[in-house]
């Protein structure tokens, strides 16, 4: 039994193994037992989304409402955020409106950390550039734990653009922390030069399918900043996608996960996203519970309220 003390969540690397489990336990409790009491009634969470996002923004908004918080929504398109006003200024302005917590999604690595150094309230990183996406990681861990029971000996293969993916970075860190075995596969143009300790690079999709229990597919973009990294989506599907043919060779215990949105026919064959092995909608549902748990813990810590975990 420990007490939760952190008021910011920048990356899963900031969390101890106990804290990680504590968040997952609380999320599971919310999922099983409901949350009728609206524990944080009267508080306000600002969703600052500088990058387009439908699912993460809505998932956080839903999570905030479920625990009784009001939400303020700022997105790059709808606000006066523009060059000239620094990120720090914007955060101060929003805080002055009477906000207790911030969720920030931004294209710059370190953006959530920068805001956490400026505001009094709690800060949850909703994705900062290619750096980290801790709540995505937590919802993925919750989904894996729910399906597998634990992490010891669990083999997870992450397939796709590892280099540019905050989802991959956070997931490799989180799984490593909990004792799972992690491997990656993808085109060399999408691979970092160095992988975290203990993470293997597999030769290809076939090897990944032969090795892993969880096949985690990342969303692919044809090019980044105008630089083509793969020749075509068609060729990507053939070399690294879960084709209809490969789907036929899935073993019964294997799971398919994807952070969404799925490019049907690219990472996954058109029908495979809906097959029995897919946990994609379960991931989305768990996302709300995980974000409830995160907001609940961070806001409680920011208000000096003690919450027991573990």
């Amino acid at each position: 039994m420990g007490k939760w003390k952190k008021k910011h969540l920048i990356d899963v690397t900031d969390l101890s193994e106990d804290e990680l489990s504590g968040v997952l336990d609380l999320a599971a409790e919310f999922k099983e037992k409901g949350f009728g009491r609206e524990p944080l009634k009267g508080m306000t969470v600002a969703n600052m989304f500088y990058e387009a996002s439908t699912r993460t923004a809505n998932s956080f908004a839903q999570a905030a409402r479920n625990i009784g918080c009001a939400t303020l929504n700022f997105s790059k398109g709808s606000s006066s955020v523009s060059k000239g006003e620094t990120l720090g200024d914007t955060a101060r302005v929003i805080e002055a409106m009477g906000v207790d917590g911030f969720v920030i999604r931004h294209s710059a690595p370190g953006a959530a950390k920068l805001i956490s150094a400026i505001v009094e309230g709690a800060v949850a990183n909703g994705g900062d550039g290619r750096h980290a996406h801790p709540t995505q990681c937590l919802l993925d861990l919750m989904t894996m734990r729910g399906n597998n029971g634990g992490f010891k000996g669990l083999k997870v293969a992450i397939i796709g653009d590892i280099l540019h993916s905050r989802v991959a970075r956070s997931l490799m860190a989180g799984l490593g922390k909990l004792g799972a075995e992690v491997a990656v596969a993808g085109p060399s143009t999408m691979m970092p030069g160095t992988l975290p300790d203990g993470v293997m690079r597999l030769g290809g999709i076939e090897e990944a399918m032969g090795w892993a229990k969880v096949l985690y597919f990342l969303r692919i973009q044809l090019e980044r900043q105008g630089r083509p990294l793969i020749a075509s989506l068609r060729e990507y599907h053939e070399t690294y996608g879960l084709t209809a043919e490969r789907m036929g060779s899935l073993k019964r215990e294997q799971l398919i996960m994807h952070p969404g949105p799925v490019n049907r026919g690219v990472e996954l064959a058109a029908r495979s996203a809906d097959c029995g092995a897919a946990r994609i909608l379960e991931q989305v549902a768990n996302g709300v519970y995980v974000r409830m748990a995160v907001l609940y813990l961070l806001l409680s810590a920011a208000k000096g309220r003690e919450v027991s975990i573990g």
Partner: protein, 426 residues
């Protein structure tokens, strides 16, 4: 003006191979003589007992932002920061607004420097109009009006044919070309060194080859044209190899390194603090060591600050939007002395050479960089035992984006003397 007698200091002049406790007399803006127990004879006296007396420092690379960005720095504030750091000559880059690309701009810089009356500020003019990488500047006119070199610093010259023309034409005009070597396509959207730390943090990386392929190209073009190439802020082993090879072939190629590439490494970016964002980026520790070796070997002949002031509020911009650059001219000597000389990694004579005779040689400034009789009376007096905390008590610069802020360092500039006149301390 009375003569100036600097008494009893440890006079170090790398060019003359001199390191001895002596007196030094300046008169009529020049070095008159040095010797033991020189008579004061009406001269003003600086007691330099326990201090190092060195030729005035020369910075080949600074940004004083004027005209156009006077909120960040002016020639006067930059000069004040420079003399506080012991610099008596500073070369300022042309990436102002408007760019210094014609004789009026060059004259403006000199005029503002004269009005400030602190150190010598030498304009480096743009190599192409507006630093646009298309039309070369009137380099003969620029030289006549006081430009000491040409450079599009900050904007790499993408086009190899244009670089060839610049090197060839500048050679006719008698001007060195200071080269910001970077392949912009290879650098892409990167903002830190590509490697282990960029892989972990997800901060977009720039491969070291984005610099070295351009150094290779431009060294080859210096060979082709017989032009005078100086590689700015060199930061990779392969770049050093390219310069060494070019020099071995007798080509006219030199290089400078910044204090931050000698003292800091890429791990600083783990903090996501934009004060560590700089171009070229901080490299791995192993490269840092290699650059120091190249300096000792002489392949790199100068340490240049690349003093790049930015407004304070820019620190609160996100890492992608935050500008590149570090303001360091007022603490450069002290951080180098503390980090390299005190640690036994570089001799005091080697450090002083890289700050005086080395840079003078790069630009062919024969009147300075040494304390031989007849040279300009530019002298820096340093108390090597004194300590201070960087940033404590504020900066002379208008900006405070200094990566060494808060560090306790050794080596205090006690006096800076320009043309025989004390312009700082005393």
């Amino acid at each position: 003006m009375a003569d100036l007698l600097i008494k009893g200091g440890r006079v170090i002049d790398p060019v003359q191979g001199l390191d001895k406790v002596m007196d030094l007399r300046l008169g009529k803006g020049r070095v008159v003589e040095m010797g033991e127990r020189l008579a004061a004879g009406g001269a003003d006296v600086i007691d330099a007992a326990g201090c190092i007396v060195a030729p005035g420092f020369i910075d080949l690379h600074a940004h004083f932002r004027q005209p156009g960005h006077e909120d960040e720095e002016t020639i006067a504030s930059g000069a004040a920061a420079a003399v506080k750091g012991g610099y008596t000559t500073v070369c300022v880059m042309a990436n102002t607004d408007p760019a210094i690309d014609n004789e009026a701009g060059v004259e403006f810089v000199r005029k503002m420097a004269d009005a400030a009356g602190l150190c010598d500020v030498l304009p480096v003019a743009a190599a192409t109009l507006g630093r646009g990488g298309e039309q070369i500047t009137e380099m003969h006119r620029l030289r006549k009006h006081g430009a000491v070199a040409v450079s599009d610093d900050g904007a790499p010259v993408r086009n190899a044919a244009l670089m060839r023309t610049i090197l060839s034409y500048a050679a006719d005009a008698g001007l060195p070309v200071l080269d910001h070597a970077e392949d912009p396509e290879l650098a892409g959207d990167g903002i830190m060194n590509e490697g282990e730390v960029s892989d972990i943090t997800g901060i977009p990386g720039v491969p070291q080859e984005a610099e070295s392929v351009m150094v290779e190209r431009d060294a080859a073009l210096a060979g082709l044209t017989g032009g005078r190439l100086h590689v700015q802020h060199i930061s990779t082993g392969a770049s050093v190899d390219a310069v060494r090879r070019a020099r071995g072939k007798g080509w006219n190629v030199t290089a400078e390194v910044t204090p931050h590439h000698l003292l800091l490494d890429e791990r600083k970016l783990e903090t996501f603090d934009p004060v560590y964002k700089v171009n070229p980026p901080l490299r791995p520790a192993a490269v840092r060591a290699l650059l120091l070796e190249a300096l000792k070997e002489g392949v790199i002949s100068a340490i240049a600050t690349d003093h790049a002031p930015h407004r304070d509020e820019e620190k609160e911009l996100d890492l992608l939007e935050a500008p590149n650059g570090m303001a360091s001219i007022e603490c450069a000597f002290s951080v180098l002395y503390t980090g390299l000389v005190e640690e036994g990694r570089l001799g005091i004579g080697e450090l002083l050479a890289a700050l005086t005779s080395g840079p003078a040689g790069v630009l062919g400034l024969e009147d300075r960089g040494s304390l031989a009789a007849g040279k300009r009376g530019d002298v820096t007096v340093i108390d090597p035992a004194g300590t201070w905390v960087v940033g404590e008590g504020g900066y002379a610069s208008r900006s405070s984006n200094c990566p060494y802020a808060g560090m306790r360092v050794k080596g205090v500039v006690k006096a800076t003397v320009v043309r025989g006149r004390v312009v700082y301390g005393g």
